[in-house]
């Protein structure tokens, strides 16, 4: 383990050097222009103008002071984004080292350079800038999709426990750390007696904000169990809100000379008002936004704008009343997510998602980057005692909090969190951007501001680097319960529905109403009133139908994806796939004009097959049903392969035998592994199975079809590449595809791709049934037109 880590860190270090070289070059090329100029202008700004005194018209003027602030901000963002691009050149590094670590490292390097040339970092981060411009997008990422996913996947009472841990846990942390630090301050040896209790509490509230991004990425990657994930997630979400509330409160209190007991109660009351008020505003604005989008069908271009403006408005209004703006924006986003998505077009949805993602990642990047820079350039007040004790207390109180608070809620949980989960929870307490930003924007009136900033940075660096890097190996080591969250099976959806109804029904019979009852009531209310008001086309859609449609569309989309040479749609789809990797299961979005194509392809491919399966599941057996299934599966696999044409080449030797297996498992989430294993089994058994079955079959047609069977596989395999080529040639053809398939296919089969050839070779190496006729026949058919078979089957049926 250690050696691995070591070798890895060396690798990382090597990469970092490369990265930093890149960045230095970027630094030289971009901010150099900035760094040279700024000393000239702030005072001399007007003096760059004196050219004008001369009578003739200036041909060339420089007015840097005018653009200085936005210019520098842009350059900073660009630099940070370059750094981010750099990490992903070699993707393995981001698996092992959290991105925040890397960003901070780069920031440190840049800061070192700036320090050596005595350059001040720009004032990107002032109090109002942070709260008004950087925080909202950072928050919005969480609400954008993750939370809803969590709510969807678990019907367990979500909110209470999450709230418990987020609110009580954060309070626990802040107060615990604050008071113990106050105790430390009383020790004379450290020389910090001047820090009073309020300031300690303020500081504690700053460093109890947990940064979710790093932990959640790790959790998602190793797919820890849902419960743990949700608790951590909810903690991160609400903890920010609680922290900011506490921060505001304490920073107010810290300036008061004397604190009276009444103030404590007022503080508590205020805490409630701030939290609930924020929620209320958020939901209100969410409804208003949903209602607005009901009427935007004619002006699709500005739909995303509405969404952003309303959430930002919610944020600002909440700020106006000095209530929790984070809560407001989160609740607003949640409400909107629920209703708006059905009102706006697919295109707008994609836009919104992308913009939110972009904004949040930019602000996050900038903050971490900035953290690195500031660590070097700002003046520090070192006080080892205070610093070390801060680190210690931050860790101890978090662990204690988990150990004490979790057993309290465990009895109320359906699945209690065990010790391993608790360890994951305690260890996942990384501090991040919010802490830093809050510390950095502390008012100057606090005497020991520099000490606080230093201590905060120390805590952040410590947790992000040490815990962030080691959490993944640790979680894998202690083997925290995992979950597999792939619920794309139709059956699963049906039965989940069934269970819900059953539980509601039984509760009705018993006369006991627990959360199923309330869920049911809410859904009824929702369907009856809210949806009718807020959604344009408000037919309640059953989850099953939705899933079914989604699956079908997904299939179609994959076909289309592999097919389309349409440039306009390509980038969107590609980026969506990347997004898919990142967040586990976003709904697929389509460009509207592609929908028709999809439906056409669907009706040609999927529908007919499904129709026939009706027959075969009936008592009347259909002789060549396996072909149908074959097609379905074959199609999936070939789609999967065509997803990653690059990887196909390399995996051919391995998959010669199981030629239809997907080259990588990475797409497994889309097609549940059950199906994969099915394909696997099937391939493995079919080699034996078909020849064996052959003599038994006395049905004439069956015997022939049995003989042809292996070659059908071949055909269906070819089916896809050929359709691809076909559609590339004539995308508009897809409507008339069925009729044109045979002729087209002849042409395409001639110039069939290398993949196909390779596959056929692989196929022929398979131990086929020894009969010469059998061997001969596949050959015939591969030379013949594979796709011709499909119409044939239809006729047979």
């Amino acid at each position: 383990m250690d050696t691995m880590d070591f070798s890895f860190t060396r690798q990382a270090a090597a990469f970092l050097i490369v990265c930093s070289c890149l960045c230095v070059s970027a630094e030289v090329s971009t901010p150099a222009g900035v760094t040279l100029l700024p000393p000239v202008q702030p005072e001399n700004g007007p003096q760059s103008y004196p050219n004008a005194k001369k009578s003739n018209l200036p041909v060339f003027t420089i007015n840097y002071s005018r653009i200085q602030i936005p210019f520098e901000i842009t350059l900073w963002m660009l630099l940070a984004s370059f750094a981010k691009v750099g990490f992903h050149v070699y993707h393995k590094i981001t698996i092992w080292v959290p991105e925040s670590c890397l960003l901070i490292s780069i920031g440190l390097i840049v800061g070192g350079i700036m320090y050596s040339v005595h350059e001040e970092p720009p004032a990107v981060l002032s109090n109002s800038v942070f709260f008004l411009y950087i925080l909202p997008p950072m928050i919005s990422i969480f609400s954008s999709g993750l939370l809803l996913k969590c709510i969807k996947t678990s019907s367990s009472p979500f909110s209470v426990q999450v709230f418990w841990f987020a609110v009580v846990g954060t309070l626990w942390n802040s107060i615990g750390i604050g008071i113990s630090l106050f105790g430390i301050c009383q020790i004379e040896a450290f020389g910090v007696q001047d820090i009073n209790l309020q300031e300690n509490l303020l500081f504690a509230s700053i460093i109890s904000a947990v940064d979710p991004v790093a932990v959640l990425t790790v959790f998602e990657d190793v797919s820890v169990n849902e419960q743990l994930y949700i608790v951590v997630f909810g903690e991160c979400l609400f903890n920010d809100a609680v922290t900011v509330v506490l921060y505001n409160m304490f920073s107010f209190v810290a300036e008061m000379p004397v604190v009276e007991p009444v103030d404590v109660f007022l503080g508590m009351a205020r805490f409630l008002v701030v939290g609930l008020g924020g929620m209320g505003f958020g939901i209100l604005f969410g409804f208003v936004a949903s209602f607005t989008t009901r009427f935007t069908s004619k002006v699709r271009e500005i739909e995303p704008l509405f969404i952003f403006m309303y959430s930002y408005l919610a944020y600002l209004v909440a700020e106006l009343f000095a209530i929790s703006s984070i809560m407001a924006i989160v609740c607003c986003a949640l409400t909107m997510k629920y209703y708006v998505e059905e009102n706006v077009s697919q295109r707008s949805c994609t836009t919104i998602r992308h913009v939110v993602k972009m904004l949040s990642s930019i602000s996050e990047t900038v903050i971490f980057f900035f953290l690195g820079v500031v660590t070097i350039t700002t003046e520090h007040e070192w006080n080892w005692g205070y610093l070390l004790f801060t680190l210690l207390f931050a860790f101890i109180w978090r662990s204690l909090g988990v150990l004490v608070l979790i057993p309290i809620i465990n009895p109320f949980r359906t699945i209690p969190l065990n010790l391993k989960d608790q360890f994951g929870l305690a260890y996942g307490g990384l501090r991040g951007a919010i802490s830093f930003a809050l510390a950095f924007t502390l008012p100057e009136s606090i005497v020991r501001k520099h000490l606080f900033v230093t201590a905060t940075i120390a805590v952040i660096l410590f947790t992000v680097f040490l815990q962030g890097i080691s959490i993944r190996p640790l979680i894998e080591l202690i083997n925290v319960r995992r979950t597999n969250r792939k619920e794309d099976l139709i059956n699963v959806e049906i039965h989940r529905r069934m269970m819900e109804h059953t539980m509601t029904g039984i509760e009705d019979i018993c006369g006991q109403w627990s959360h199923f009852y309330w869920k049911d009531k809410f859904m009824k209310f929702n369907n009856r009133f809210l949806r009718r008001i807020l959604i344009r086309d408000s037919r309640p859609e059953s989850g099953i139908v939705a899933l079914y449609k989604k699956l079908e569309l997904q299939n179609a989309m994959e076909i289309l994806d592999s097919v389309s040479g349409d440039i306009s749609s390509a980038p969107a789809i590609v980026s969506l796939h990347e997004e898919k990797k990142g967040s586990a299961k976003p709904m697929k979005k389509f460009l509207a004009k592609d929908l028709n194509n999809m439906h056409n392809i669907l009706s040609k491919n999927m529908y007919s097959i499904r129709q026939r399966t009706v027959a075969y599941t009936n008592k009347h057996a259909l002789p060549n049903e396996s072909q149908n299934r074959e097609i379905l599966i074959r199609r999936h696999s070939s789609i999967r392969r065509s997803f990653r044409p690059g990887s196909f080449q390399s995996t051919v030797p391995k998959s010669q035998k199981y030629f239809s297996l997907p080259p990588g498992q990475s797409l497994g989430s889309k097609f549940p592994s059950a199906r994969q294993s099915y394909a696997d089994d099937h391939e493995a058994t079919s080699e034996v199975g078909y020849p064996l079955r052959l003599p038994q079959s006395n049905h004439p047609r069956c015997s022939t079809s049995g003989a042809v069977m292996p070659l059908h596989r071949l055909n269906t395999l070819n089916e896809f590449p050929s359709v691809e080529v076909l559609n590339e040639k004539s995308p508009s053809h897809s409507a008339s595809q069925d009729s044109s398939l045979p002729d087209c296919h002849f042409s395409t089969n001639n110039n069939s791709s290398a993949d196909d050839l390779r596959n056929e070779e692989g196929e022929e190496q398979r131990p086929l049934p020894p009969s010469p006729a059998l061997v001969a026949e596949p050959r015939n058919n591969t030379h013949g037109n594979p796709l011709l078979r499909r119409p044939q089957w239809n006729q047979k049926k």
């Binding site: 049906i494 109804h501 039984i506 037919r539 139908v545 009936n618 299934r629």
Partner: protein, 237 residues
Amino acid sequence: MYFLHKRCYRNAVKPVCEQKSLLPLNIQPQTEKCSFPVFFLFLVVEQVKHTPTCVLPLRCRKENLENIPALAENPIKNQIIEAFFDKRNQHGNEVGSFQEIGFEQFVMVMSHFRPPNLKTTKEEKQEMRKEKLRFLFNMHDTDGDGIITLQEYRKVVEELLSNSGAMDQDAAHEIADAAMLEVASTNVPQMSPEDHYEGITFQHFEQILKDLEMETRMFIRFLDVDTTTMHCGKATS
């Protein structure tokens, strides 16, 4: 253990005790003012049973359950009601269905929905999961032959979808077919062309739902517990 709502107890037990003539009868879950949940009535009667005046146990028929107003909108109402009268859900080996059930049978059915607690071991959890799956399976398998046929499956899906109104029957059938195909392809990979997939057996049912988390879903936890006023003599686990 089963508990009752305190307020309900006050409102209902007293009247029941006062008119003892009420007892040997079919229960009427609906009275003019409030509709008594069946379970509640059962408990009341079980309590009253121990008083010397009334000894006859309460029986419950299908009609009684059907009259529960809250149940009216449930799309799979029939299956739920059937489940209570199904002998397969009595943890015995019997097949068939009861005409009327008593408290014991009712509790047996309800026992499928025990929530797990901290002390339940892994094996017990597995067992509970299996029980719950079995319960679900029985709800699907209406004719009791141990196989969910396509017709049965279709019917369920249709009922599940009947809420959403606009759905036509074909779509429901399609979905059921697709789901059936899914089961078939997952479970019987090496199916030869002559075979046909008869239907979902319990093993296949378990297999297809193995990823579905049941623990958080199929359980009833009684809120408003009030141990002092009410606990039932029939305290099963």
